[in-house]
Symmetry: C2
Subunit: 337 residues, 2 copies
């Protein structure tokens, strides 16, 4: 399989899950001391991951948990954000301009900051009250944090059973998703390449909701647009019906991300609508992928990870089809702007 | 001027402003009784207006004010939403499916509902604890509500002066924006028509932030996509730099909405970047429009209304250029889905 190191991926996820003790220690301390609000702050892909953590908790937890976009936080700010507030953020490099300024502003206000910064030597680490440095697995780290917050708040009684299943089976299950998706992904990438070459202006439409919305938004923008320079538009399943539907015709390329969380019914509505007006759509449904050893009731909390695993395979094949190394940038960080 | 009835528009805005007494009575009652959260709930265009009200208050008010998308509220729900919560919503028809279900759910939980429903005879009016029925001016109604909430919370000391200026000058000022924008809008509509006919697949990119974000999002989706069937993508100024920028080339059509609120610096960054990579961009800046009788300090709170006035003229000319009556729908409410 192209760009696939099974053992490395298993180790990566298991290493992420092994952060649990550290994460629990930080979260327990946060909740023991008390707070008036927890703000997941991000920009671009890390904002998308923040949205996933928030929507996951919104339906399950009475804790005051919110999302802020870093650039909005440093301009508009938030009057409800105080010295008793908590920031949670994730950053690979630790030097994204908006993120640095947002954390600086939070610290000036007197809030406490919990960072996941891949590079332990980044300057931003010094601003954190707590920091865990471990590569990748951002969504997993956020959900592990969310799970502990809810457990401590009496909203996650199945916490131990959940973690046991994750620690025993998740890494293997996600690798198996990649393996299962690979042949389909190779075919899909070929089709996308042919379509884009024939229709270079046409945006590819991505639709998704719930914890798939962060996946949909960031996949369209941070992968296809930023890393592959392919036009996209992303929209939630709910909002799809309030405007965007009108520009879908028989040949319009649409990909629907379906998950298994509380917003699945919204995706089902899109899945029911599309065949009536379009014949160039694709549905990627996390439900089609077995997650051995993981209970059905927990699958909704993993839908975005399943989608990420599927899309890892799509990316590998798109990069090859388009002969476009995903690391190159046309403008981003290439000059001052 | 095409589709322009000056006196009717002046009367419409002044009629909206004249609701102040009614709005104040409702808001005062809400704040006297107390609440644990105020939720602007909407879907599509009304969700976009809700986002505008929320971002307006976020930087100025410590009140717990949030936005919910109606479809997400009826699926995922919100555990922080209780019998002590308040819903504020707006609807023209009062029969949008998601909105009806969201209000029903809020009432089941025991929350209080304040509706602006244009059609006084709509069923949803019966579910409201308070309802004001007056046509159009949704954003004005929301901001008037927001202003009173902040005034009562000691966060809007200039309230009386603000309202005096609005009531004396806003309607006339907005009509003058339309008049000033008309010649430009006619030219722009011609260019858009020529571009779209030559490049039917290419999406038109709209970028905006702050209270312009609701305007950007809903203008792209509810006007161009839904009413004119033109492809669009909308993105905030902040997020533009985290992916979307990479697909902008010399001929890519981009329109930037600039306002005068706290997020203007984010739009200025886009305005500085675009000329370096693109020669097919347009900037619509609320600052270019005089608002006679209105103090500079209040202009930020009106930027989205100025943009709406400019876009009214664009719409009138686009409808004529494309020979596409904006009332027709391809799919929306045309069949069961």
């Amino acid at each position: 399989m192209l760009k696939f190191d099974e053992q490395k991926q298993i180790n990566s996820v298991n290493g992420g899950l092994a952060l649990r003790g550290e994460i629990e220690k930080v979260v327990d301390e946060i909740q023991e001391k008390g707070f008036d609000g927890i703000y997941f702050i991000g920009i671009g892909g890390t904002w998308a991951s923040s949205l996933q953590a928030e929507v996951y908790m919104r339906g399950r937890s009475a804790l005051p948990v919110y999302v802020e976009n870093a650039a909005e936080f440093i301009t508009t700010g938030n009057k409800r954000f105080t010295k008793d507030s908590i920031v949670i953020f994730s950053s690979v490099t630790g030097n994204t301009e908006e993120m640095v300024k947002a954390v600086e502003k939070a610290k000036e206000i007197g809030a406490k900051v919990f960072g996941f910064v891949d590079k332990a030597e980044a300057e931003i680490v010094k601003l954190c009250d707590w920091c865990i440095s471990y590569p990748e697995n951002e969504q997993l780290k956020f959900y592990m944090t969310a799970n502990r917050l809810m457990y401590n708040n009496g909203e996650f009684p199945e916490y131990d059973r959940y973690n046991k299943e994750m620690e025993e089976h998740l890494a293997e299950a996600l690798v198996n998703v990649e393996k299962k998706a690979d042949a389909w992904a190779a075919e899909y990438a070929k089709e996308v390449y042919a379509y884009v070459k024939a229709n270079p202006d046409m945006p590819h439409y991505f639709v998704g909701s719930g914890n798939q919305w962060g996946a949909t938004y960031s996949y369209a923008m941070c992968y296809w647009e930023e890393q592959l320079w392919i036009r996209t538009k992303s929209i939630t399943c709910a909002e799809f019906f309030h405007g965007m539907l009108e520009v879908v015709e028989a040949e319009t390329p649409v990909t629907l991300f379906m998950g298994e969380d509380s917003q699945r019914p919204l995706a089902e509505r899109v899945a029911g609508f599309l065949p009536k007006v379009c014949k160039n759509y694709v549905v990627i449904d996390s439900k089609d992928y077995e997650l051995e050893g993981i209970s059905t009731e927990f699958r909704g909390s993993l839908s975005h990870l399943v989608m990420h695993a599927v899309n890892n395979r799509v990316d590998a094949h798109l990069e090859d089809e388009f002969k476009h190394p995903m690391v190159i940038r046309r403008y981003y960080r290439q000059f001052e702007y």
